[in-house]
């Protein structure tokens, strides 16, 4: 196992590239050798391949700094979903290689599935038998076994998923697995129980490609917090625009202890909001997160920005443009640009509640709090706007301010 899990920290970054075996030539694995040679530049600890590709691409695993080789020892049709040319009607799983085949390929471990949740108990028993037979072979040959237990089948529900994942992990450990490749349950709390139940190293699997690097890295970070020993990422890496960079980013978190923010290095400091009207879907999440961030619960009527509806297919976010008109209009100098972060700041003690700023705002995003008799003005969340982070269609994007308009300040 020490070849897969780096001895100093006991953690590993594994890249799974066995998708072609289950799904044929999907995006990212068409030219597997080309993709993997880029992946290797990012220095993953190990790469998972089907037996055939392991033989063909054996040269990638030679040399002192080369990754360890893991061999997929079983096949399944379970991932042929509705979008697949030939969707699976019932789920099947078959052994395709033995421990000794893997050893002759130079593998450091084999990886097999274990499914739990079929309505047919017989099928579930077959699943266990297959896993157990791999465990016996591996024991005899002294080869580590990594099991990938997955809730799968008609009896899996939204309510029992995390419990089932946890139970399946424990059963795999009892059957003789040396490490686990587990689905991330989605949050630290439930995943901690899974890791505890396993009692052996747990690596999380990546699943479908995340929409953003931030999501992918956040999950790695949370899994490690919950006690995971690392990741097995497949499509996340193979379909990344720069696979080597993706592996390096994951390594930074797994091996170098960096935070997601340190890796992503998001825009902070003096920022402005850039709006792309055509991307807006009118979901108004920006209004909701705005008041939530400012501790006012959920209250679009008090948001520091607004979504404008112009017609059935026309709407756009309207945000503070930092034009400074409100500052100019203020008769009591209650408003000014923040000296460092350059957002509009309010000095409530100076404000007389005249509402001139509300009138002056050319885009009508300055609102008025009747109860406190104070204007509500965008403060760019003091350098890290929530709306820019939460706007999923990226109709609002946080950007560094290019130049300062000091005339009003």
């Amino acid at each position: 196992m020490s070849k897969i899990l780096d001895p100093p920290d006991g953690r590993g970054v594994v890249v799974a590239a066995d998708h072609g075996f289950m799904l044929g030539s999907i995006e990212g694995v068409e030219d597997l050798e080309g993709t993997l040679s880029r992946v290797v530049e990012g220095r993953p600890d190990a790469i998972l391949l089907s037996p055939g590709q392991a033989a063909r691409l054996n040269h990638l695993f030679r040399g002192r700094d080369a990754p360890a080789l893991l061999v997929r020892a079983d096949w399944t049709n379970a991932f042929r979903d509705k979008t697949y040319t030939l969707p699976a009607r019932t789920v099947h799983r078959r052994a395709v290689a033995e421990a000794r085949d893997a050893i002759s390929l130079g593998a450091s471990a084999i990886v097999t599935y274990y499914f739990m949740g079929h309505s047919d108990d017989e099928r579930e028993a077959q699943n266990l038998r297959l896993m157990a037979s791999f465990a016996r072979q591996c024991d005899k040959m002294g080869l580590p076994l990594i099991v990938e237990p997955l809730p799968m089948g008609e009896r899996v529900t939204g309510a029992n998923f995390a419990d089932l994942a946890t139970a399946a992990v424990r059963i795999a450990a009892e059957a003789g697995a040396d490490a686990i490749k587990a689905v991330y349950t989605g949050d630290v709390e439930t995943f901690s129980s899974l890791v505890k139940a396993a009692g052996i190293p747990v690596l999380i699997l990546g699943g479908a490609k995340a929409k953003t690097l931030r999501d992918a890295l956040e999950i790695v970070d949370e899994a490690l917090e919950a006690g995971a020993a690392g990741v097995v990422y497949g499509r996340q890496v193979l379909q990344a625009s720069d696979p080597a960079q993706f592996v390096r980013s994951v390594r930074a978190i797994v091996h170098e202890g960096k935070t997601v923010l340190q890796v992503l290095n998001p825009v902070t400091g003096p920022v402005r909001l850039r709006v792309f009207p055509e991307r807006c879907t009118r979901c108004r999440v920006c209004e909701l997160i705005c008041t939530s961030t400012h501790g006012q619960g959920f209250s679009p009527a008090a948001a520091r920005l607004r979504v404008e509806f112009l017609g059935v297919d026309s709407y756009k976010p309207v945000t503070c443009t930092l034009c400074g008109q409100c500052i100019k209009a203020c008769p009591t100098d209650a408003l000014s640009f923040h000296p460092e972060l350059h957002y509009v700041q309010l000095n409530p003690e100076r404000c007389n509640g005249c509402m001139d700023c509300v009138q002056a705002c050319p885009v009508k995003v300055v609102r008025f709090d009747e109860q406190r008799s104070l204007p509500i003005i965008c403060d760019m969340c003091r350098g890290a706007p929530s709306c820019g982070l939460w706007c999923q269609p990226e109709a609002i994007v946080t950007e560094r301010q290019k130049e300062r308009k000091n005339d009003a300040a």
């Binding site: 379970a78 042929r80 979903d81 509705k82 979008t83 969707p87 699976a88 009607r89 019932t90 789920v91 499914f115 949740g117 079929h118 309505s119 047919d120 799968m152 089948g153 008609e154 009896r155 899996v156 529900t157 939204g158 309510a159 029992n160 998923f161 995390a162 419990d163 989605g186 949050d187 439930t190 699943g207 479908a208 995340a210 929409k211 953003t212 999501d215 999950i219 879907t281 009118r282 979901c283 108004r284 999440v285 909701l288 997160i289 008041t291 939530s292 501790g295 006012q296 619960g297 959920f298 209250s299 679009p300 009527a301 008090a302 509806f309 059935v312 297919d313 939460w390 999923q392 269609p393």
Partner: protein
């Protein structure tokens, strides 16, 4: 402990239309904990308010608008509300759900629910603003379409108002009438007819009260985790956002489950023409979302063909493409989208409308209805002209519409020999999944609390689309029944929470559970216990239906599904094996052999406490 700042507004508005009197009641904490809101709360209020055996179109039948603790928060796809009433279509309870922006606005105005009682002598609309409500004469909007009504009221009152209204179809109390807002519809079960019977044209609402939650920081984090789960799932991050619900249409056609020509077959030769992929390339110009939703399954279609040029419509979605498309044999997407638009204007359910027209086309084919009886319409399968003309006649209630507007069941009672082709369950027209090709859907239609509905026990995703590893669509064993129960319970939870059901394609009930606690402060202890809340709601709605006289013999399907084998596709030769599934369903639910929850079940689900 107060429910305010725990996801709830904490208040229920009761308004008597006859007397114009309003009353604000506190939402009881016990009820909120046991039923959350939405469907659960609405069903409870219906049970308590409606007298036993009430005529759905009489003043004594209440019309209830309900939100849930997640409505109007950062929880994904939480911009919804539901309408609960005794359905004039089925005589059962009915909860119809609707997106847009109305639900959150109602909560910002200070109400978790509105119970509308009695009926007005003159047409009125209800104006709600920040904790206050009053009736206004509906002069100038009565008789108008939903879009005209909404536009007029918002122009007069202010654009910040959100308006839910009925169209001419609801005014005439047609059982296929829905309630519309923002071009979205609480379509099924005739909620619009109940509103029409009360002479209530619309509700306009505006609010600026914040909705607070129990633990803002934790809630925000859990909402982020839930949104992230949606971002990491293929269905919620790609399929639904790009192709809407029509993303599954080709798949459903391949599995032989796309109802075609009034459910004569499950395969539509022109499926590709009406697929999400084709619509994306041709008609759709913009993706739109309801409040708080990142899935944005709604699409705005801009029509280009000569007679429809300039029309813009939200849709068509999968169910509409089935009902107005394949089920009528129509492959002309412009005509389907235009018909969808007409349904929205007149305020009627697209599913029922399409099924009525498909039924009519089959009766025309069989010679039971003639061209003369249809006001001169040549109702041939696949005719876009007939589709539009018949829809128009239903919307206006003229010509063929005189007969058609009363729904499939009513038509079959009036037309001798038509009964074998009348596809409805308890009076509600059957939706877009051929049950012979997906046994679980057959069970779901038969036992659903509002008749032929696909959105109670939605097994189709698992049976036909392979979600979660899939299930054999032909199986009708206990495993399939359990699958149906699991789906039904989960659906009842999100319908009570209230968030969109589509979130469950990407996240799981666990994510809902993790948002509910910091939102409401209710600690259910486990996800399973929250799922059990869904089971409670399902048994509660069953208790209402039992009270209204429904029993085992009503939990059935049209003969076509039970006796006539499906002629083609992967499920060729299949019928629905309903009896063993219904029996197992009752047993697993803890209901007796007549479909009545046993006293032990009522006790263990604490329904006895609720109904006492």
């Amino acid at each position: 402990m107060q429910l305010e700042n725990r996801g709830y507004a904490g208040a229920v508005l009761r308004i008597n239309l006859k007397l114009g009197r309003t009353k604000v009641e506190q939402l009881e904490e016990d009820i909120a904990r046991l039923l959350l809101g939405g469907k659960g709360l609405g069903s409870y209020l219906l049970y308590k308010t409606a007298p036993k055996g009430v005529d759905p179109l009489s003043p004594q039948n209440p019309l209830i608008f309900a939100t849930g603790p997640l409505t109007g928060t950062l929880a994904p796809s939480s911009g919804r509300f539901c309408v609960v009433t005794k359905s004039p279509t089925t005589g059962t309870m009915n909860d119809s759900h609707c997106g847009g922006f109305f639900g959150p606005e109602l909560k910002y105005a200070g109400f978790d629910a509105v119970v509308i009682e009695d009926s007005s002598d003159e047409p009125v609309y209800l104006l709600i603003k920040n904790g206050e409500a009053e009736l206004q004469p509906a002069n100038g909007v009565w008789g108008k379409t939903t879009v005209e009504t909404e536009t007029t009221l918002r122009k007069n009152l202010g654009e910040e108002y959100r308006v839910a209204s009925i169209g001419p179809c609801g005014e005439r109390c047609s059982p296929i009438a829905g309630i519309l807002t923002d071009m979205r519809s609480a379509g099924r079960g005739g909620t619009g007819a109940v509103m029409g019977s009360k002479k209530l044209k619309a509700i306009a609402v505006k609010g600026s009260k914040p909705v607070g939650v129990h633990n803002q920081g934790k809630f925000e984090k859990m909402a982020w985790i839930a949104q992230r789960a949606l971002r990491m799932n293929e269905t919620t991050v790609r399929s639904l956002p790009e192709y809407g619900t029509a993303n599954i249409l080709m798949m459903i056609n391949q599995t032989g489950a796309l109802p075609t020509r009034n459910f004569q077959t499950g395969r539509f030769p022109e499926a590709e023409k009406i697929s999400g992929e084709t619509l994306r390339d041709t008609l759709w110009v913009r993706d739109i979302a309801c409040m708080g939703c990142t899935i944005k399954c709604s699409k705005i279609a801009a029509l280009k063909a000569e007679p429809y040029l300039g029309t813009k419509v939200d849709g068509p979605d999968y169910e509409t493409l089935f009902s107005l498309g394949s089920n009528c044999g129509v492959g002309d997407t412009e005509a389907i989208a235009y018909t969808n638009h007409l349904c929205d204007l007149y305020g009627m359910d697209t599913i029922s409308t399409g099924c009525i027209i498909a039924f009519t086309m089959e009766l025309y084919e069989k010679g039971i209805l003639t061209r003369k009886e249809l006001g001169g319409v040549d109702a041939k399968w696949g005719s876009p002209g007939a589709l539009v003309a018949l829809t128009e006649s239903i919307g206006k209630g003229v010509g063929a519409g005189n007969l058609l507007q009363w729904g499939v069941r009513n038509m079959s009672e009036r037309l001798p020999g038509s009964e074998p082709f009348a596809l409805h369950v308890k009076g509600l027209e059957v939706p877009g999944y051929e049950p012979r090709a997906a046994q679980g859907m057959g069970l779901g239609y038969a036992v659903s609390d509002r008749g032929g509905c696909h959105l109670r026990a939605y097994t189709a995703g698992t049976e036909l689309c392979g979600y979660g590893g899939g299930a054999d669509p032909k199986a009708y064993d206990q495993g399939k029944v359990q699958l149906a129960i699991d789906r039904e319970d989960e659906k009842a939870v999100v319908d009570s929470a209230v968030i969109c059901f589509f979130t469950l394609f990407g996240m799981r009930l666990k994510e809902v559970y993790q948002m509910i606690e910091p939102c409401t402060g209710f600690n259910y202890g486990s996800v399973r216990e929250l799922k059990n809340l869904g089971a409670r709601v399902v048994s509660l709605t069953r208790m209402f239906n039992v009270r209204e006289g429904f029993e085992r013999k009503d939990d059935t399907l049209p003969k076509r599904f039970l006796e006539n084998p499906l002629p083609d596709g992967p499920a060729k030769g299949e019928v629905v094996h309903l009896e063993p599934m219904v029996q197992a369903y009752y047993e697993l639910r803890g209901w007796d052999e007549n479909g009545v929850p046993t006293s032990e079940t009522l006790k263990s689900l604490q329904i006895d406490k609720i109904l006492k």
